[in-house]
């Protein structure tokens, strides 16, 4: 089963019942004793040019899911289909060719660039591996790619240590774009960056999407960033998708208690929102994923838990508009009218000052990078 959006186009990527179980301990005969069900029976689809965000707290399995989609981690069960090709059925050699269509942007640009390779070599490597352009044109293409992500062509001869975090992340994005992918999997791609730099990279990702028609799987724990960039959101908790739907719906009418708790826990950087965060707060800590609670996995922390929750299954209940959630009793939950609160509107004069920042800097200054 998969949850199609209303679009008539065939989906670019389909994950059906994907699971990944890591074996922690085996008997001496090799029979698995304990398993972590990092990704458990997850299905969704991604349309061309769409951004699907996967959110959740650390340990919920969102990064594992991202890697399973690219087959960097082999799934234990289920199938991933990219552009009509079932990735999970391919040999390793055939997979290599497919991987040019789906590329990964990592979290930490300080760790994901080889310090001994120049930026030009780093960005040029996928061009060589996937033979995207003839050898003679590679240097030219590298320069184009660097320009595309807002770096200068002459940066190609420099090494990563000469760049700031934001610039490095642009290099990582240029490298990911080199093989002309259809999908970028961004795994916490802006989490390690300072807010002003984060804004630059988010703007870049948005403009690249418009220009190149890319689809993003945007893995993040930061819901305000997700709201800004995503078209649809999948919320994960302990290996399960608990809610999946359009960004607007998820943020305005969250169904699942876990989504509500996440939304109400975000500290809002504006005043006068007057939200009641306590009503949705979760109790205690994340249980161990090795031995997740039975039934609904949230029942140990859920403010609306009832005895039946220990036995229900977590299958998604899909509404007519495609908004799906895994709470068995969501129809009986109290209404949430305004979880995010309506903060005081930005002073129009302040909004004008914000706009001034997007004007080009006075002469003699380098372009933002």
């Amino acid at each position: 089963m998969s949850f199609e959006t209303t679009s008539s186009q065939p989906p670019l990527l389909v994950a059906s019942d994907v699971s990944k179980h890591f074996t922690l301990r085996r008997t001496i005969f090799g029979r698995p004793l304990t398993k972590v069900r990092a990704v458990d029976d997850i299905s969704f689809s991604l349309q061309p040019g769409e951004t699907l965000a996967i959110v959740g707290e650390s340990g919920c399995g969102k990064s594992t899911l991202g890697r399973v989609l690219m087959r960097l981690i082999e799934p234990s069960a289920g199938a991933v289909t990219l552009d009509g090709v079932e990735l999970t059925a391919l040999s390793n050699r055939d997979m290599l060719a497919q991987r040019s269509k789906i590329q990964l942007v990592f979290q930490d640009p300080y760790a994901s660039l080889n310090p001994r390779m120049t930026i030009g070599q780093t960005v040029g490597e996928p061009l060589m591996l996937h033979n995207v352009v003839p050898k003679a044109q590679r240097a030219e293409r590298v320069k184009e790619l660097l320009k595309m992500v807002g770096l200068r062509p002459e940066h190609a001869s420099r090494y990563p240590h000469e760049f700031s975090g934001g610039q490095r992340q642009r290099v990582v994005i240029a490298r990911a774009l080199a093989s002309e992918p259809k999908i970028l999997v961004c795994d916490e791609a802006v989490s390690a960056l300072d807010v002003s730099i984060q804004a630059q990279v988010l703007n870049l990702l948005k403009s690249l999407q418009k220009k190149l028609g890319l689809a993003y799987i945007f893995i993040s724990h930061d819901l305000s960033v997700v709201k800004h960039i995503a078209d649809r959101v999948a919320v994960m908790y302990l290996g399960k998708v608990v809610e999946l739907g359009e960004t607007r719906k998820i943020f305005s009418t969250p169904r699942h208690p876990y989504t509500r708790a996440l939304l109400s826990a975000i500290p809002a950087a504006h005043l006068g929102h007057g939200r009641d965060t306590a009503a949705h707060a979760l109790a205690g800590d994340l249980p161990s994923p090795i031995d997740p609670p039975s039934g609904c996995r949230l029942h140990t922390r859920c403010p609306h838990a009832r005895p039946e929750c220990k036995a229900v299954d977590m299958s998604l209940d899909v509404e007519a508009d495609g908004h799906a959630n895994a709470c068995a009793f969501w129809k009986e939950l109290p209404q949430t009218d305004d979880l995010l609160g309506k903060g005081r509107a930005t002073d129009p004069r302040l909004a004008k000052l914000f706009a001034a920042f997007s004007n080009p800097l006075p002469e003699g200054e380098q372009a933002p990078c």
Partner: protein, 349 residues
């Protein structure tokens, strides 16, 4: 989980001593300067920082990486290496200058009257002692109590920071606890001696949002019940808006704006703060494009003359080549910018 357990009785607080000016001040930092000498260059990490912390209030220190916020707080506790860091200025606490007292006196203050919570709860606890021992150690060091008494108090502290079944948890090691619980142990250690000042350096950055909300709630509670003044260092403006009363914004080693949360979030008066606020995606409004502050932070081995933000500032004028002083824009709201009040600039754009 026993959340309703009342904290130890405290004398009623004079909550409103803010108006009494310097009377409510527990910690005053004047013109703090920290330089690190390298082989060939000297880096000025903190350049003339001044602020006042008042009893029962929390002060948010905001800035991006490298702005000098953590170095300032380490300087207050005198935790910087004495061989490479040159510190000048004045740090007034309880009538004495912390920069001129002896190391022994300083050790008696640290963890006792001024304490600190570090960012990484994973690396700041000793893996080979139980958490109860580590909290009790602080109490033994500063109070003349028996070991058994210190242990009882340690368990009480763990209960106060809402660790479930504290008697059992106290006998466990850091690796048995989750990140959020370890951070709560750190807070319990920091608060064990009921300090007057608590410096929290990115206390929730390593934690998930639901746990962050619990920790911020806890700090808020402690502030109102014990009257501890809190310095909250963070890069997250959302955390500041939720948890602080006053804010200072740092950029390139200097305080560029200072005021109440209300003042700074309703209309910031420094272009850098304007850029920061604009770069945040808002949950309750649609923003097509986020503000991206062009350029990069200046090299602190050779800080630029004049206003340090000028090179990245869309509002700069010729006068910005001169170093701006902190100018008072509204009562209690100061900004290091020649072009204040910024409201008047809006018509130009």
């Amino acid at each position: 989980m026993d959340a309703s357990n009342p904290p130890p009785a405290q004398e009623p607080l004079a909550r409103d001593d803010r108006a009494s000016g310097s009377d409510g001040a527990v910690l005053t930092v004047n013109d703090l300067r920290v330089c690190f000498a390298g082989d060939r260059t000297t880096t000025t990490a903190v350049d003339g920082v001044s602020f006042t912390l008042r009893k029962g209030r929390s002060l948010g220190v905001v800035g991006e990486s490298g702005s000098g916020k953590s170095v300032s707080s380490l300087a207050v506790l005198r935790l910087l290496p004495t061989d490479s860091a040159q510190i000048s200025g004045e740090i007034l606490f309880a009538g004495q200058d912390l920069l001129s007292i002896g190391e022994k006196q300083m050790r008696n203050l640290r963890g006792n009257q001024i304490s600190m919570i570090f960012q990484e709860p994973m690396t700041s606890l000793n893996p080979s002692y139980t958490v109860g021992d580590q909290v009790a150690e602080t109490i033994l060091r500063h109070r003349s109590v028996s070991k058994a008494e210190a242990w009882t108090q340690a368990v009480e502290m763990l209960r106060l920071v809402r660790i479930p079944s504290p008697e059992t948890r106290a006998r466990q090691y850091p690796h048995n606890l989750s990140g959020g619980m370890r951070q709560r142990v750190m807070i319990a250690m920091a608060l064990a001696c009921e300090p007057q000042v608590l410096i929290a350096d990115e206390p929730t950055t390593a934690l998930d949002v639901t746990i962050q909300a619990q920790i911020l709630d806890l700090l808020e509670n402690l502030k109102s019940t014990t009257g501890t003044a809190i310095v909250l260092i963070t890069h997250d403006l959302g955390v500041v808006a939720e948890a602080c009363d006053d804010v200072i914004v740092m950029y390139a080693g200097q305080v560029v704006e200072s005021g109440s949360v209300e003042q700074i979030f309703s209309f910031p008066q420094h272009p850098y703060t304007v850029g920061l606020l604009g770069s945040l995606p808002r949950l309750d409004e649609e923003r097509d494009e986020l503000v991206a502050i062009g350029g990069t932070v200046p090299d602190m081995t050779q800080p630029p003359a004049g206003c340090r933000f000028a090179a990245r500032c869309p509002f700069r004028i010729e006068k910005c080549a001169e170093t701006p002083p902190m100018l008072e824009v509204n009562p209690g709201h100061t900004s290091r910018c020649w072009r204040t009040p910024l409201e008047e600039l809006a018509d130009e754009f």
